[in-house]
C-alpha cells in the first residue's frame, strides 16, 4: 500500500461516516458540538448550509447518516442525529438576519423551476443569493410539494414547513402557485436561461386486480394524503385496509386513525425484513395500534351490490429458488373492510413534456439525465429530486438541487458542466494542553435517548397534534455526548515518530499497528486486531525514521478519544478537526455561505 494521501479531502471525509453517508454531507459532528454548547442558532445554520431544511428534515429525514454512525460498530445504537437536528431547529433564535439575501444588482439570468417542492426550493436557495431571477411554477395553491401534501401534519407541523420555505421565498423568488406547466415546449419559448424540473414523482401506483374500478372507496395513497391536507377528505369509514408497507403506507394508516377509522390493517405481500418503511415509522404506526399483516398478496376486491365489503388475499409463504424469492399460496382469505388505500409506490409522469423537442426518454419512460450534471439531453434543461430518477428522500432532492445549481451557474457562464468546482478542507489541531483538547474526548457510555410521544388519546383528538415531543434538555445533554467526534481526526506525521509503541498500547480498540509495509490484503492480516469491515479504510504512513516500518491505522472502530495523541511524546499523533469545504453555485469551497455570526455569547 502506498502512504495514504490525507491532503485529499475525500480521505478524512470518509472517516466521518455520518457526513459521508449524508447525500448533502451535512457536518454532523460540528452541529452536535454546537448543540452541546447551547449554540442552537449556530447549529441550525451549520445544518442549513448543506441541507437547507433543518427543521423539516429533523422530523422527516430518512436518516442515511444513522446506520452509518460509528457507534453502531462498537455494539451500540447510533447517535440520534436526526432528533438532535430537530433540537437545533426548535431552539434556534430568529435567523432571518443571518440568511443569504439577493444582491441589489441581479446578474440578468432567469431560471424557471417546475414544481415548488424541496428540489426547486433548494435550487432557488442557491441561485437567488448569487443574482439569479428564479421563477417557480406550482400547480397547487401552496408551495412545498410532497413535504406539504404527503407528510401529515402530526409528523411535520405546517408552521415548521412554512417558516423554512418562507426563508427561501423571502429572498425574492417569483413563486406562481396554481400555475401548472402544461407544455415544456411553450416554457422553452419563454426564453429562460435554464429550466429546472423538480416536479417530483406525482403519480401513485395503481393495483389493477378484479373489482378495482367497481367502487369509489378504493383510494390512491398520495392523492388521499393530499386530499386530507387540503380538507377535501375529513372522515373515513371504520374499517380500512392499507395496501403496501412503505413510508407512505405508514402516513396513510396513521392518518385514517385520526379521521374516523378504528380497525386499520396494513397489508404486506412479504415478510417484515423486506418492508420498505423505516423501522421507526413502523414502530410509530404499531404504537398507534395499527395492525401490520405479513405475507398477504392482494387478489381481488369484494364488491357486493356495488358496495366494497372486503378484499381477498392469497396467504403466501416465500421460499428461495436459486437465489430468487418465490411465493406459494397457502390459502385464500377475505378480510372485510369499508375502504382501501393503495400505497404501493409512486411513478413519475411527464405528460407535459413533448417527446420531439430534444429531451430524450429512456427506460420506464424516464428522461435521460446525467448523474453528475443533472442535465438532460436538451442543454439548459435540468432535472432534480424525484423527477430525475424516481422517488427518494428529501435530503437527496436537496443535494440534487445543489449540484444542479452548480451546473446552471456553469451553463449560464458558458463553461463546461463537467469542470466542477473541487471540494476543499480545513484541518486544525485541537490541542489545548498536555491532556486537554478543544473537544470533549471522554467516551460516554450513555444509551440512545428515546423520543417521548404525546399520549395516544390526545394525539387522535386532532390531525395537527405533533406526535413527537422532541428531546428534553437532559436527553439532549446526554445524547450529544454520545457523538464520537469522528471529524476530529487522528493525524499522523511519520517523520516525528520514535516508535515507542505508546499509542498502540493505549488505544482502547486496538486500531493501530506498526509493521512492515505490504499490500492491503496482506497488511490486513497483520493488524493488531483483525479487520471486521474491509470497506473501512486503512491509513498507512510513510516509512518511519528509525526502522522504516509503517504506522497502520484501521479506521473502523476508532473512537477518536485522542489517547494516542496524548500518549505520543513527539506529537507525531495529533487530533485535528477536519472540516469539509463544499462548493456551492458561485461559492467555491471555503467561501462563507453566511454572513459572519456575532461572537460567541
Amino acid at each position: 500500500m502506498r502512504p495514504t494521501d490525507v491532503t485529499d479531502p475525500a480521505y478524512y471525509h470518509r472517516v466521518v461516516d455520518c457526513q459521508w453517508a449524508c447525500p448533502a454531507h451535512t457536518n454532523v459532528p460540528e452541529y452536535i458540538r454546537q448543540i452541546a454548547q447551547g449554540l442552537f442558532t449556530e447549529a441550525y445554520l451549520t445544518n442549513r448550509e448543506s441541507n437547507v431544511f433543518p427543521g423539516i428534515l429533523g422530523r422527516t429525514c430518512d436518516r442515511p447518516c444513522e446506520p452509518a454512525c460509528r457507534r453502531t460498530r462498537i455494539d451500540e445504537k447510533p447517535v440520534a442525529i436526526c432528533r438532535l437536528k430537530r433540537v437545533a431547529a426548535d431552539h434556534r433564535d430568529d435567523v432571518t438576519g443571518m440568511l443569504p439575501t439577493a444582491p441589489a444588482v441581479k446578474n440578468g439570468k432567469r431560471i424557471a423551476c417546475v414544481g415548488a417542492g424541496p428540489a426547486s426550493l433548494a435550487l432557488a436557495n442557491d441561485l437567488v443569493p448569487i443574482g439569479y431571477d428564479v421563477t417557480i411554477f406550482e400547480k397547487l395553491p401552496r408551495p412545498g410539494g410532497l413535504m406539504r401534501t404527503n407528510i401529515p401534519s402530526f409528523r411535520l407541523p405546517a408552521s415548521v414547513l412554512d417558516e423554512e420555505i418562507d426563508y427561501i421565498l423571502g429572498m425574492g423568488v417569483d413563486l406562481r402557485c396554481n400555475t401548472p406547466v402544461d407544455s415544456m415546449e411553450s416554457l422553452l419559448r419563454e426564453g429562460y436561461d435554464a429550466i429546472f424540473v423538480g416536479s417530483g414523482a406525482p403519480r401513485g401506483k395503481d393495483l389493477d386486480i378484479p373489482g378495482r374500478h367497481d367502487s369509489d372507496r378504493i383510494l390512491i395513497g398520495i392523492d388521499f394524503l393530499e386530499s386530507v391536507h387540503f380538507g377535501h377528505i375529513t372522515e373515513i369509514e371504520s374499517r380500512v385496509l392499507i395496501i403496501g408497507v412503505g413510508n407512505t403506507a405508514m402516513d396513510c394508516c396513521r392518518t385514517v386513525k385520526r379521521i374516523g377509522a378504528t380497525d386499520v390493517k396494513v397489508m404486506a405481500r412479504r415478510g417484515r425484513q423486506h418492508f420498505k418503511a423505516s423501522p421507526w415509522e413502523l414502530e410509530d404506526a404499531e404504537e398507534e395500534l395499527v395492525e401490520i399483516v405479513e405475507n398477504h398478496s392482494p387478489k381481488r376486491f369484494v364488491i357486493e351490490d356495488g358496495i366494497l365489503t372486503g378484499m381477498e388475499f392469497d396467504v403466501v409463504e416465500w421460499y428461495d429458488d436459486n437465489g430468487r424469492q418465490k411465493s406459494r399460496t397457502l390459502e385464500t382469505v377475505t378480510i372485510p373492510c369499508d375502504a382501501v388505500i393503495l400505497a404501493i409506490g409512486q411513478d413519475n409522469a411527464f405528460p407535459w413534456i413533448e417527446r420531439d423537442i430534444g429531451i430524450e426518454f429512456g427506460d420506464w419512460d424516464m428522461p435521460v439525465v446525467d448523474r453528475t450534471t443533472f442535465q438532460c439531453t436538451l442543454p439548459g434543461v435540468f432535472f432534480g429530486g424525484d423527477s430525475a430518477w424516481g422517488p427518494d428522500n428529501i435530503i437527496w432532492a436537496v443535494e440534487h438541487a445543489h449540484q444542479a445549481a452548480i451546473s446552471i451557474h456553469l451553463h449560464c457562464a458558458g463553461a463546461s458542466l463537467t469542470d466542477r468546482p473541487p471540494q476543499g478542507m480545513n484541518l486544525l489541531s485541537e490541542k489545548m494542553g498536555l491532556h486537554q483538547w478543544s473537544y470533549s474526548n471522554a467516551y460516554s457510555h450513555a444509551v440512545r435517548a428515546k423520543m417521548v410521544h404525546v399520549d395516544l388519546e390526545q394525539r387522535f383528538r386532532d390531525l395537527g397534534v405533533e406526535v413527537e415531543l422532541g428531546f428534553d434538555p437532559a436527553q439532549t445533554a446526554a445524547e450529544v455526548q454520545r457523538c464520537l467526534n469522528c471529524d476530529v481526526q487522528t493525524h499522523f506525521t511519520a517523520e516525528l515518530c520514535i516508535e515507542c509503541d505508546a499509542c498502540i498500547d493505549i488505544c482502547p480498540v486496538d486500531c493501530l499497528t506498526i509493521t512492515h509495509a505490504g499490500n492491503e490484503a496482506e497488511l490486513r492480516g497483520r493488524l493488531t486486531a483483525p479487520t471486521i469491515h474491509p470497506e473501512q479504510p486503512l491509513y498507512v504512513s510513510a516509512g518511519l525514521p528509525q526502522t522504516a516500518r509503517v504506522m497502520v491505522k484501521d479506521e473502523d472502530v476508532c473512537v477518536h478519544c485522542g489517547l494516542c495523541a496524548e500518549r505520543c511524546p513527539t506529537a507525531a499523533w495529533d487530533m485535528r478537526r477536519f472540516e469539509l469545504l463544499q462548493p456551492y453555485a458561485g461559492k467555491p469551497a471555503g467561501s462563507s455561505k453566511y454572513p459572519p455570526l456575532p461572537l460567541l455569547r
Binding site: I74, H435, H445, D501, D505, D510, E566
Partner: protein, 386 residues
C-alpha cells in the same frame, strides 16, 4: 482538565479471551502517569500480554517494587493482583519474605537501574544468590528520571546527558552482574521489541528460580537525545539479537490450567510433591546440548510442562555455560553492540525453596497446630540447645 481521561472501557469487537475467560483488558491497571512515550509503559504492555497469554489468574500474582519511575508501573497492570510498593531498593527483601511465606504466589518484581544498581545493589545481589523464585524485571534507562535526569549507575562511559555533560564512571552491567552471581535465568531485551520481550517474560514466569530480565527502556524526557546510549534510536541501531526464544505454554497445550481454573500451572508445580523432582533430591539436570547450528532450534522443557525454544542467531554465541556467555557479552559490548535475547538459563537449578528446604505449602494453608506447635514443642527444642 489537567488529567487524562480514563482509557474507555470499550474494546475491539474481536478482543480475545484466554483459557480462563479473561481479555487482555482485564490484565490492565490504572492509567499511567509516566511521561508519554516512556519505555516503561511498553514494558507494562508486554507484561500484560505475557500474563494474559499464560492465562494466569491475576489474584495469584504478587507485584513488588521499590522506588522510581519503574517502580510506579505495577499500578498500571494487573489491577486485581496483590501489590507491595516497598522502600527504595528493598524490594528483593520483601520478595524474599513474601515468597517464603507463600510459595504459590507468582511474584513479579519491577525495578529500575537506580533502585537495583545504586541504593538497592546489595539487595539485588543477594536475591540472586538466594535464588528467590520470582521474575525480576529491571527497566534500565541509564538516568534518574524522577530526580530530573542525573546519570545512573548503568550509564555508559561517554554517554551524554541532555545538557551535554559526559559520563566518566564505569557502568554496572546488570547482566554481567547476574551471570557472575549465579542467577539461573538471565536475559536482556528492549522495550521497543515486543516480539522478543513477551516470550522472554513468559519463560521467566515459568522459570523456577530467579529469572532476571534487563530491559533497556528509554527515558523520553531525559535520555532520548543524540549522544545517549540508551535512546530508542541508539538501542535500535546497536542491539543484536543473538538468541531468539519462543515460548510454548505447555499448560495450555495440555488442556488448560488444571481444568478448574485454579491455575497451578505456573510455579505451583507438582514437582514439589513428586519424588523424582522432590527438593530433597538432586534434580536430573537436562544438559543444554553443546553445539547446535545457527538457526537450529533447541527445546528446553520447563517444570510446568511449557517449552522454551531457543534459536541461535549468532553462531559464535555459546549459551551452554555461564563463563562463555559472560565472555561473549563482554566482548560484544566492547565492540559497541548490545547483545539481547534469553542469554542464559539453567532450568533445573535449585531455587530458594529447594536450597532452604522450605515447607511445600504456603504458610496460610498450614493448620494452626503446625504453624504454632505449642509451648511443649518449644521447650523440647530449647532443650536440644542446652
Amino acid at each position: 482538565m489537567t488529567t487524562s481521561i480514563p482509557k474507555p472501557r470499550i474494546h475491539h469487537p474481536s478482543l480475545e479471551r484466554n483459557s480462563i475467560g479473561l481479555t487482555r483488558r482485564d490484565y490492565e491497571g490504572s492509567m499511567s502517569t509516566l511521561c508519554a512515550g516512556c519505555g516503561h509503559d511498553s514494558v507494562t504492555a508486554a507484561i500484560i500480554r505475557a500474563f494474559w497469554e499464560l492465562s494466569i489468574p491475576p489474584h495469584r500474582v504478587a507485584k513488588l517494587s521499590g522506588i522510581g519511575c519503574s517502580s510506579k508501573t505495577p499500578t498500571y497492570f494487573l489491577r486485581e493482583a496483590h501489590g507491595f510498593n516497598s522502600v527504595h531498593g528493598r524490594m528483593p527483601s520483601i520478595a524474599t519474605g513474601a515468597g517464603a511465606a507463600n510459595r504459590d504466589l507468582i511474584m513479579i518484581g519491577i525495578s529500575g537501574d537506580g533502585d537495583s544498581l545504586s541504593i538497592g545493589l546489595g539487595q539485588f545481589c543477594h536475591a540472586m544468590r538466594r535464588g528467590v523464585r520470582m521474575l525480576y524485571v529491571l527497566e534500565n534507562n541509564g538516568v534518574y528520571g524522577l530526580t530530573k535526569g542525573q546519570f545512573s549507575a548503568s550509564a555508559d562511559v561517554g554517554t551524554k546527558a541532555k545538557r551535554g555533560e559526559v559520563n566518566r564512571n564505569e557502568p554496572i552491567d546488570p547482566v554481567l552482574l547476574a551471570l557472575s552471581l549465579g542467577a539461573t535465568f538471565v536475559a536482556r531485551s528492549f522495550s521497543g521489541d515486543r516480539e522478543q520481550l513477551v516470550p522472554i517474560l513468559k519463560a521467566g514466569l515459568a522459570h523456577r528460580g530467579f529469572a532476571f530480565i534487563d530491559v533497556i527502556s528509554p527515558c523520553v524526557t531525559f535520555n532520548d537525545h543524540e549522544g545517549s546510549t540508551k535512546s530508542y534510536r541508539f538501542t535500535r541501531d546497536h542491539m543484536r539479537e543473538v538468541i531468539a526464544a519462543d515460548f510454548t505454554d505447555g499448560a495450555v497445550r495440555d488442556g488448560g490450567l488444571d481444568g478448574a481454573g485454579n491455575g497451578h500451572a505456573i510455579h505451583a508445580d507438582p514437582g514439589d510433591e513428586t519424588p523424582a523432582e522432590s527438593p530433597d533430591l538432586v534434580p536430573i539436570r537436562t544438559e543444554i546440548t553443546a553445539a547446535y547450528a545457527p538457526g537450529s532450534v533447541h527445546e528446553i522443557r520447563m517444570h510446568d510442562g511449557s517449552t522454551v525454544r531457543l534459536r541461535k542467531i549468532d553462531e559464535n554465541f555459546e549459551s551452554t555455560d555461564r563463563d562463555a556467555v559472560y565472555a561473549y557479552v563482554r566482548e560484544r559490548q566492547r565492540a559497541g553492540e548490545i547483545p539481547t535475547g534469553l542469554l542464559y538459563m539453567e532450568p533445573e537449578a535449585l531455587d530458594m525453596h529447594a536450597m532452604e528446604g522450605t515447607v511445600a505449602r504456603p504458610l496460610v494453608d498450614l493448620a494452626f497446630e503446625s504453624l504454632c506447635p505449642g509451648a511443649g514443642k518449644l521447650d523440647a527444642l530449647m532443650e536440644e540447645f542446652r
